[in-house]
């Protein structure tokens, strides 16, 4: 069995998850600070890829990055690289489609953050960057990890936009999801089942991880019990 689709899917998902992690965090952090109207509009735009059909996302990406489109021409002229129909094209597709999952979960986590913690750190002389990485992120880490894992899973399973922008070339742009479609189309049920099983195992592991994180989150906060010497 040729394991290239698994390898390709994993590297695409990994690179997109790294991108999404940082972009999602900063979008979540800064959007929360904006005035209400701007926040509402940006929120809709940033969440749209979650509800749009992936083919629509793929269409937009092709209009932007295709070989005869603005970005496509510029990248080809400047760096001599193609943006479509290569393995990393799928990174754009899965990053856009999976971004809202990270953005929304991170935003929810940030909203539950106690602002007094940030104020306390400020009065203690700490910079906002320090506060972000050392107080805010650790405080919200469960939500952020859950968002990252969900985004990774979504990126791994991306099909629609990927097939439009990266196509299916065995050994080059093939991912698990495009391979399953191709195997079904050519009637190779045995191989198709194998890839289906691989897909189910990966997704199950991801969901288990998310559930475990959520359970940890829901566990009631330990109430401070007074030491006996303080009661007396």
């Amino acid at each position: 069995m040729d394991w290239y689709p698994l390898y390709n899917s994993l590297r695409i998902a990994a690179v997109s998850t790294v991108l999404i992690f940082f972009l999602g965090l900063f979008a979540a952090y800064y959007v929360a600070k904006l005035p209400r109207l701007v926040k509402g509009i940006l929120d809709v735009i940033l969440t749209l890829p979650l509800v749009l059909p992936p083919t629509v996302v793929g269409y937009f990406l092709l209009r932007l990055m295709g070989p005869k489109r603005v970005l496509g021409i510029w990248f080809l002229d400047t760096f001599g690289i193609k943006l479509t129909m290569v393995w990393y094209s799928a990174i754009f597709a899965s990053a856009v489609v999976a971004f809202p999952l990270m953005y929304r979960t991170a935003r929810g986590a940030f909203e539950s953050f106690d602002p007094d913690l940030a104020y306390a750190a400020q009065t203690l002389g700490r910079s906002n960057t320090w506060i972000f990485w050392r107080v805010r992120l650790p405080y919200c880490r469960q939500g952020i990890i859950a968002g990252t894992v969900l985004a990774f899973a979504r990126a791994l399973g991306e099909y629609g936009a990927t097939s439009m922008i990266a196509g299916y070339t065995p050994g080059r742009t093939a991912t698990i999801s495009t391979t399953v479609y191709q195997l079904w189309r050519t009637g190779d049920d045995v191989s198709a089942y194998r890839w289906v099983m691989v897909n189910i195992v990966i997704s199950a592991v991801v969901l288990l991880t998310v559930n475990m994180l959520e359970r940890k989150d829901r566990r009631p906060k330990k109430r401070a019990v007074p030491a006996p010497e303080e009661v007396l």
Binding site: D114, D116, Y119, A121, T123, L124, V135, P226, A227
Partner: protein, 355 residues
């Protein structure tokens, strides 16, 4: 060491206008919830920016609208004790305390100061714990240690005792008193509790609806509160609307009587108050200002009796008087249905509208 605050901020329906100056010692900011106490502290700390005014700490201008000075919280050197202490839950006690320490010090020096401060606040041995593993009192000591390690010029205490169970409060209160006694800069102590003001503060500033009233010594607040809100906050429960009835007498509108108050009336007299323990009960009309009353209800307290009585003004809300007596005093009166309450002219609190 002095702190001058004179600020204003508009929040739409709520308008904050606070002014006071303190030169060391503990100044209480006393007010009901939602009166702008915490907001005042946030303005001083630089978390909230006022619309107008200035804040000067020890000759150092922290904020001045006109000179366009607005130091960030990091540069203000204020020690802010939050109501829930705001300890970083992901860090140990030691890490929490080190957060505020001067980073230009050598590592050895910081460790030395850390162990000194742990020792001073009875936290030795708890350094590796996380805040969630500590009791409420210990959490407060960590928060204080963290503030003191940052060597602030002023302490801002935001209802420091309100998050504690009542049986812990007394012990924590004593420890907090020690810390405040050893601190050399001014301290602002925000609270809604008259007992805490009485225990901790030398001066007090009453806040009502976002406005500060003139600062006064604590004993004046309790002996002769100037306004209705100050009187209520000082714990007086017997209040009546009032209007002048003579050069030294007032008509208590809610109680339906005219009382001799023995002194000239203030200009904007609006209410009078009488503390429960200044009301003297008797079976017959004797003494000055005897108010004929009907007993409405007798409440048996742990160590005393609380008696609610109706005045000639009626038996609803402010027309009632509340009287607290030792159990044997009440028994000696013979559980009467009617009685006279008299109050000495000097014990009638004359309250005026704030400007």
């Amino acid at each position: 060491m002095s702190l001058l605050v004179d600020i204003e901020k508009d929040f739409g329906p709520f308008h904050l206008k606070v002014a006071f100056e303190t030169s060391g010692g503990t100044l209480g900011l006393l007010g009901a919830s939602g009166c702008g106490k915490s907001m005042t502290l946030k303005c001083i700390a630089g978390i909230v920016t006022p619309d107008r005014g200035r804040i000067v700490l020890d000759g150092r201008t922290l904020f001045d609208r006109e000179q366009k000075i607005d130091l960030p919280p990091q540069k203000r050197r204020v020690g802010y004790l939050f109501q829930n202490y705001a300890l970083f839950p992901n860090m140990t006690v030691e890490q929490n305390i080190l957060t505020g320490m001067d980073r230009s010090l050598s590592k050895a020096e910081r460790q030395k100061r850390l162990s000194e401060i742990l020792d001073r606040l009875f936290l030795t041995g708890l350094g590796r714990r996380r805040p969630s593993q500590l009791s409420g009192g210990q959490q407060q000591r960590v928060a204080l240690a963290r503030i003191l390690a940052s060597e602030p010029d002023v302490l801002l205490m935001d209802e420091p005792l309100s998050a504690l169970d009542s049986y812990l409060k007394w012990q924590v209160e004593l420890e907090l008193m020690d810390v405040l006694d050893q601190f050399h800069g001014p301290t602002l102590f925000v609270t809604h509790s008259r007992d805490e003001v009485y225990h901790f503060c030398s001066n007090v500033c009453v806040l009502e609806g976002g406005r500060s009233q003139p600062m006064e010594p604590v004993d004046v607040l309790f002996r002769a509160p100037a306004t209705l809100s100050a009187c209520l906050l000082s714990g007086c429960k017997n209040i009546s609307r009032a209007r002048p009835a003579g050069p030294a007498s007032v008509e208590a509108l809610d109680w339906g009587v005219t009382l001799d108050c023995g002194t000239a009336l203030p200009e904007r007299l609006s209410h009078i108050g009488v503390r429960a323990h200044f009301l003297r009960p008797s079976r017959t009309a004797e003494g000055p200002n005897a108010i004929p009353c009907k007993v409405l209800r007798v409440i048996d307290n742990v160590f005393s009796m609380v008696i609610m009585v109706a005045t000639p003004g009626g038996d609803q809300s402010f027309s009632r008087l509340r009287l607290e007596l030792a159990k044997d005093t009440w028994a000696a009166l013979g559980d009467p249905q009617t009685l006279y309450l008299s109050v000495a002219p000097k014990d009638v609190l004359l309250l005026q509208d704030p400007k």
